[in-house]
Amino acid sequence: MNPVNYLYLAALLFTIGATGVLIRRNAIVVFMCVELMLNACNLALVAFSRMHGNLDGQIIAFFTMVVAAAEVVVGLAIIVSVFRARHSASVDDASLMKL
């Protein structure tokens, strides 16, 4: 199969993720959408790796996975503590940092 199709898929997934981040209010969903975007990038990296015939892209994909895992740990912890404090997981409610 033409590897370019994988790139189309990656772009589609990324767009879905980005749209989700922008329009959804629930922090968990936003978070999942961020993961979706990351994985779209991973897919693109692996596809590029295949197309160019070297392993750099795959290595970077592994890094991304590690970072994503770390991010999940920190992010979920934040979301849980925000939810505990405010009884809501809406990202719009958490706007205390503005003046």
Binding site: V21, L22, I23, R25, V30, V91, D92, S95
Partner: protein, 648 residues
């Protein structure tokens, strides 16, 4: 022998340092320390004088180089002294009269709790004045010049709890500062013209420079002299300076400091000789001040202010003489010395009168005092005869010489200047007779006087302690005060004759100042006769007005001129309106401008920045998703731009 010169200055300087830093421990002996050190300075002066007399007239100049003061590339200022006949004359006058006045002050200031400090200031003055006349360059002279200004400031404002004294002191310093600007510009001009400002090289090479430069230097020196010597237009401080204790008026504002301007002009003779225009201006200033001071002196009821007007007028004579050039220099100095004697004597006499009269200064509340204060009366009277130029007394000789020299100037100028000088002599006789009659003759107006008039506050604060209503009990002053007066009176009587017989004074000063004998258009005898005649006329007029008729205790309204003269011929009013008011408005508006405009521009910039950021702040609405939109948007723009660039 040269090494003694520095000691002349050092002795009183040491006294000032000890007395001012010594604290209350020295209160009991302070006045003796001050007096002894002043006298010591006089003794050094006398020793040097004796040494100088033993030398050949052409080689009498001594000098002492102490150390290099400000060594900068191309600029050399030294602390070095020069003692020639001119300086010697001043040294003897300053330390002599100064010592006498120290003695007098022991009695006069006896009841003042700050007497130690008073003597410290007096010593400081002596040191600065001696430095002024001993300096061998203009910059060191400038140090003495401002030093005497400082001492004068401190002494005029000695009773500084009185606002009038503090104001008078400030005024004196400020007006003098205006004059000092003249001196500093003159020194700068000398530096750029001659590359130095030491007397020797400057005066020797004065001829090498153009007349324009010399005129500029001369006029600037004249400005300085006007400030220090209270000449029109910078004369306004001298009358107010009478707020100081009377010994101060005698020493600083009559005998020595105010004559420093004359010294400066005579010292710079070589410069003035090369600048006829500057000389002309000098004579005009002298002539105008001579009349100005005399007219003011006629109208004042305050005995010290009347004498102050007289001082101004007499210094006008000296400046006039100094402006005449080589025909007048010697006589300017001679009049300066004789004036030092009789005017100091007159002021000490006035102080003695005030001492016996509860510090009353208004002559309208004196009268008939000759019975109560015989010594004061006689010494004051001799000083009076000397100043009006009674034949045979010192003022007669010195003033007559100046009038002769003024006529000898030649041409219309000579006639005008001579005429003014003669007129001045007549007015001098008038106002001095007025002072004499109002104080020592006539009815005793101090008895059963109604109340102290509030518009004439007495100059001496002790009046507050005595109580203004107490009737005075005139009495003679203690010996410590009368003896200096007697010594000065002797000087006033015999000084002129001593100097004039065989032209002693002329021969003494000639090597320094140069002298050419002036030839008046009329014979010298005619001038003398005219002088004596106008003097008699002045005395007679005064007698008619103040001797024959009773003197009213409250001053009559008087003519327009009298009223103007009482206010120092409106000079103060002019200063007040133009300088004080104008200055106040200027500073106030500048404060406003600084706050609103200069600062405002900056604050305005800051405020507009704040406004801008306030608007930008709205973008930060706190919604994470709107930040995400801007991030995505930004990323999209970047990518688009990159692609576009690549496509191009």
């Amino acid at each position: 022998m040269e090494n003694l010169i520095a000691l002349l200055v050092a002795a009183p300087l040491l006294g000032a340092a000890v007395l001012l830093c010594g604290g209350r421990r020295l209160d009991a002996v302070g006045h003796w320390i001050g007096t002894v050190l002043a006298a010591l300075s006089f003794v050094f002066g006398a020793v040097l004088f004796a040494d100088m007399l033993g030398k050949d007239p052409e080689h009498r100049e001594m000098s002492q180089h102490l150390f290099s003061w400000i060594p900068v590339e191309g600029f050399q200022a030294d602390v070095a002294f020069q003692l020639d006949q001119l300086s010697m004359t001043f040294v003897l006058l300053i330390s002599g009269v100064g010592s006498l006045i120290h003695v007098y002050s022991i009695g006069y200031m006896e009841h003042d709790e700050r007497r130690r400090r008073f003597f410290g200031y007096l010593n400081l003055f002596l040191a600065a004045m001696l430095l002024l006349v001993l300096a061998d360059n203009y910059l060191l002279l400038y140090v003495g010049w401002e030093g005497v200004g400082l001492a004068s400031y401190l002494l005029i404002g000695f009773w500084q709890h009185k606002p009038s004294a503090a104001t008078a002191a400030k005024k004196a310093f400020l007006v003098n500062r205006v004059g000092d600007v003249g001196l500093s510009i003159a020194i700068m001009l000398m530096f750029t013209t001659f590359g130095t400002f030491a007397f020797g090289p400057v005066l020797a090479s004065a001829g090498d420079s153009g007349e324009g430069t010399l005129t500029a230097i001369g006029l600037m020196l004249l400005l300085a002299a006007c400030g220090k010597s209270a000449q029109v237009p910078l004369q306004s401080w001298l009358g107010d300076a009478m707020e100081g204790p009377t010994p101060v008026s005698a020493l600083i504002h009559a005998a020595t400091m105010v004559t420093a301007g004359v010294y400066l002009i005579v010292r710079s003779a070589a410069i003035f000789n090369g600048a006829p225009d500057a000389q002309l201006v000098t004579t005009v200033v002298g002539a105008v001040t001579l009349l100005f001071g005399a007219i003011v002196g006629c109208a004042k009821d305050d005995i010290k202010k009347a004498l102050a007007g007289s001082t101004m007028s007499q210094i006008g004579y000296m400046v006039l003489a100094a402006g005449l050039g080589p025909i007048g220099y010697v006589f300017a100095i001679m009049h300066l010395v004789t004036h030092g004697f009789f005017k100091a004597g007159l002021f000490l006499g006035a102080g003695s009168v005030m001492h016996g009269m509860n510090d009353e200064v208004d002559m309208r509340k004196y009268g008939g005092l000759r019975k109560y204060m015989p010594v004061t009366f006689v010494t004051f009277g001799l000083g009076y005869l000397a100043i009006i130029g009674f034949p045979g007394l010192s003022g007669f000789f010195s003033k007559d010489m100046i009038i002769e020299a003024a006529f000898a100037k030649g041409g219309t100028e000579g006639w005008i200047l001579g005429g003014v000088a003669l007129l001045g002599a007549a007015i001098t006789a008038f106002y001095m007779t007025r002072v004499m009659l109002m104080t020592f003759f006539g009815e005793e107006r101090w008895k059963s006087r109604p109340t102290a008039s509030p518009e004439e506050p007495s100059a001496e604060p002790a009046a507050e302690h005595h109580g203004a209503h107490a009737e005075p009990h005139p009495h003679e002053s203690p010996k410590v005060m009368t003896i200096p007066m007697i010594v000065l009176a002797v000087g006033s009587v015999f000084g002129g004759a001593f100097f004039s017989i065989g032209d002693r004074f002329v021969h003494w000063l000639e090597p320094v100042t140069g002298h050419t004998h002036g030839h008046p258009p009329v014979s010298a005898l005619t001038v003398t006769v005219a002088t004596v005649t106008v003097m008699v006329l002045g005395v007679g007029l005064a007698y008619l007005q103040y001797g024959r008729r009773p003197v009213p205790v409250v001053a009559p309204r008087g003519s327009l001129l009298t009223r103007a003269a009482r206010r120092d011929l409106l000079q103060d009013d002019f200063n007040h309106v133009v300088l004080v008011r104008g200055g106040e408005h200027l500073t106030r508006s500048l404060v406003y401008v600084d706050h609103t405009l200069v600062d405002g521009v900056v604050n305005g910039t800051a405020a507009s920045m704040g406004g801008l950021s306030g608007r930008l702040r709205r973008l930060q609405n706190g919604f994470a998703r709107s930040y995400a939109v801007s991030m995505f948007g930004g990323a999209a723009v970047l990518i688009a731009a990159t692609l576009l660039m690549r496509a191009v």
